[in-house]
């Protein structure tokens, strides 16, 4: 009788074990440092599932506790490529008794291509090709049209006013470092503005809050004065550093604005919350203000408080518009193609969604 009971117990345990589904496999698209664990214990009715890793020296470490009967877990700790790892899944009831358990082994592998990023790759290739193609076609002499950018009318007006009133022009290339593209765009507009200022003998003040920007801005201004044929008028102290601190910088610039009373202010680059403090102080001192940034959160304040605003991509387009350099115009044309593709895919995608085909959205979502 007793033997029979033991047999029955073992037999039922085997049955349960068969119902417990537990797999371990290489987690795809990584450098071989993770294992993907999946389980399905729906038929057992377990309260908790406990996964442990069996180490070579016989120790076990707890990997994961779950209350989901069907689930998966990616283990990224202590896994090395090409080294087999053993795992045990135990299904526990409410009181902590083991209902069933199962052991599996898996080997992690490193992959050479991340297939989840295929849509990103396709987009990257198309955009790169478009931009490079148009840059070269512009360089080979093809005329590229660029629409008028309203915010740029202010440059001549500002320089004229500054000359007339004998007051300086203030330029701030944002509060981020040189590695931000908005700063670089700001600096290339500064180059044009400085040249104009040199020609009309207007004084320029450029406070910066990053030392890398400091040295580059100095060179940009110096070369602009050279181009204008006025190297003698270049003041090396016109570009100076205040502090790296966001609000410390604002405190300093506010002081400069109220004391120097610039005829025109230019805020072109990356800005955060300081945008409105600068623009309002500038307004109170009676300056004409031009701002431009690609920070969506700060645009409302510039639009409200400044006379002219370059919105988002217009900041990048502005330097192309001013310089008319083929590489900038070409790049802009390539970006426009990017927008056209965007609009086509968007329209197509919405159409497909409406008729109930989700292929395109799903494809783009995986990355």
């Amino acid at each position: 009788m007793r033997k029979f009971l033991i047999f029955l117990f073992l037999f039922s345990a085997v049955l349960w074990a068969q119902n417990l589904d537990f797999t371990a496999e290489d987690n795809p698209n990584d450098d071989g440092s993770a294992i993907l664990l999946k389980w399905n214990a729906a038929e057992i009715g377990a309260a908790t599932l406990r996964i442990t890793k069996l180490e070579e020296n016989g120790d076990t470490t707890l990997v994961y506790l779950s209350s989901d009967v069907i689930g998966q877990y990616i283990l990224g700790d202590g896994i090395q490529p090409k080294v087999p790892a053993n795992f045990r899944l135990q299904a526990l009831d409410v009181t902590g008794n083991i209902l069933a358990e199962k052991e599996v082994t898996a080997v992690a592998k490193a992959q050479w291509f991340n297939t989840n990023k295929i849509s990103l790759l396709i987009m990257a290739i198309i955009l790169t090709a478009a931009i490079v193609y148009y840059i070269f076609s512009a360089r080979s002499g093809k005329e590229l049209y660029i629409r008028k950018i309203a915010g740029l009318e202010s440059i001549d007006e500002s320089v004229g006013r500054a000359t007339e009133m004998g007051r300086p022009i203030l330029f701030i290339p944002g509060t981020l470092d040189l590695d931000d593209m908005q700063t670089i765009s700001g600096l290339s507009i500064l180059s044009k503005l400085a040249q104009r200022a040199a020609e009309y003998e207007a004084r320029l003040i450029v406070p910066v809050c990053r030392s890398m920007v400091l040295s580059t801005a100095k060179e940009v201004v110096k070369e602009a004065y050279l181009r204008a044929g006025r190297p003698d008028a270049y003041d090396p102290d016109a570009v100076f550093y205040l502090t790296d601190d966001q609000f410390g910088f604002v405190a300093g610039v506010d002081g400069i604005i109220v004391r120097e009373k610039p005829a025109a202010n230019f805020f072109l680059g990356a800005f955060y919350a300081e945008s409105l403090i600068l623009a309002e102080t500038g307004f109170a001192s009676g300056s004409i203000q031009t701002a431009g940034t690609a920070m969506p959160s700060q645009l409302p304040f510039f639009v409200v408080a400044c006379d002219y605003t370059l919105i988002g991509e217009e900041l990048f387009a502005a330097s192309a518009y001013l310089s008319k350099e083929p590489h900038q115009l070409g790049s802009l044309k390539g970006q426009d193609l990017g927008k056209a593709i965007f609009l086509v895919v968007l329209t197509l995608g919405i159409f497909l969604e409406i008729i109930g085909v989700h292929f395109l959205k799903d494809f783009l979502t995986i990355h």
């Binding site: 309260a47 908790t48 506790l65 209350s67 902590g96 109170a284």
Partner: protein, 275 residues
């Protein structure tokens, strides 16, 4: 343009006064309450007096402006209804936040006795694993309270063995570990009513838990929810004064916008009339 403009320093002055005064003298402007806040309020209202609940302070000073007023209002509500409260924290700094709330409560409810009406069991590291263990066996996780008094000597904890003995669980959460852990274990595993308060920024990611399964029984999100709760309790406090200051400041801004438009419209009319 011949348009009258006000010296903007008058605007500055009015904003300053408009924000300062409501902080000193609470007005208690009526607030439209939202469903999620009402659910939390009802949950406390429907808890029979004498039951025990658990409130976890899972935040630090950075989120204090939003979560502290919630903690204050909720505990006050519980004490009013004679509900016994266990204070705990999954964040080390949360203990201090709970103590700050208790300092205020001791003045408001001098009759409440430590160990009988409330207890602070302090901070426990370990996040979800700790919560899980707590649900199974409360005493194993908390052999003593934060002062070192053994649990067995604390009268109100005598009948408390696991989550089944608690009327509801509440987490004031600024991130992880926090409200998600309490939902997953407290509600999903042990089926206890669970609710919480979160910052305005994190609300969108937590709101989906307020669903048909009632993974969360309502949710307090941001300062406005705290003010709504104070409104439901008819006891205006920190959150209400903050919301009052907000409303007055917004009102001042809007009045100035109207003045500006009237001036503009008049100037325009005068100009046309002059022609």
């Amino acid at each position: 343009m011949a348009q009258k403009t006000i010296d903007r320093r008058w605007i500055f002055l009015l904003i300053f006064i408009g924000v300062a005064l409501p902080l000193i003298f609470i007005i208690g402007l009526p607030i439209e309450t939202t469903e999620n806040v009402r659910m939390v309020y009802e949950m406390v209202e429907n808890t029979p007096p004498g039951s025990t609940v658990l409130i976890s302070y899972d935040f630090d000073p950075a989120s204090r402006p939003e979560l502290y007023p919630m903690g204050l209002a909720l505990v006050e509500h519980c004490f009013q209804r004679d509900i016994k409260v266990i204070f705990t924290a999954l964040w080390p700094m949360g203990v201090q936040m709970a103590e700050d709330v208790l300092d205020v409560m001791r003045q408001k409810f001098p009759n409440k006795e430590y160990g009988v009406d409330y207890v602070n069991v302090g901070f426990k590291a370990g996040g979800i694993v700790t919560v899980q263990a707590m649900g199974k066996n409360f005493r194993e996780v908390y052999p003593s309270d934060m002062n070192g008094t053994p649990i067995s000597e604390i009268p109100m904890l005598r009948g408390v063995k696991n989550f089944d003995n608690l009327a509801f669980l509440f987490s004031l959460s600024a991130g992880s570990p926090g409200i998600k852990e309490w939902v997953q274990i407290g509600h999903d595993t042990y089926g206890r009513p669970t609710s919480g308060g979160v910052t305005g920024v994190s609300a969108p990611s937590i709101l989906p838990y307020v669903n048909e399964q009632q993974q969360l029984t309502g949710l307090l999100a941001g300062l406005k929810a705290a003010a709504e709760y104070e409104f439901l309790m008819d006891s205006p406090g920190l959150a209400t004064s903050g919301m009052d200051a907000q409303s007055i400041a917004h009102l001042i801004i809007i009045i100035f916008i109207i003045i500006a438009n009237v001036n503009y419209w008049r100037a325009n009319k005068a100009e046309k009339g002059g022609k």
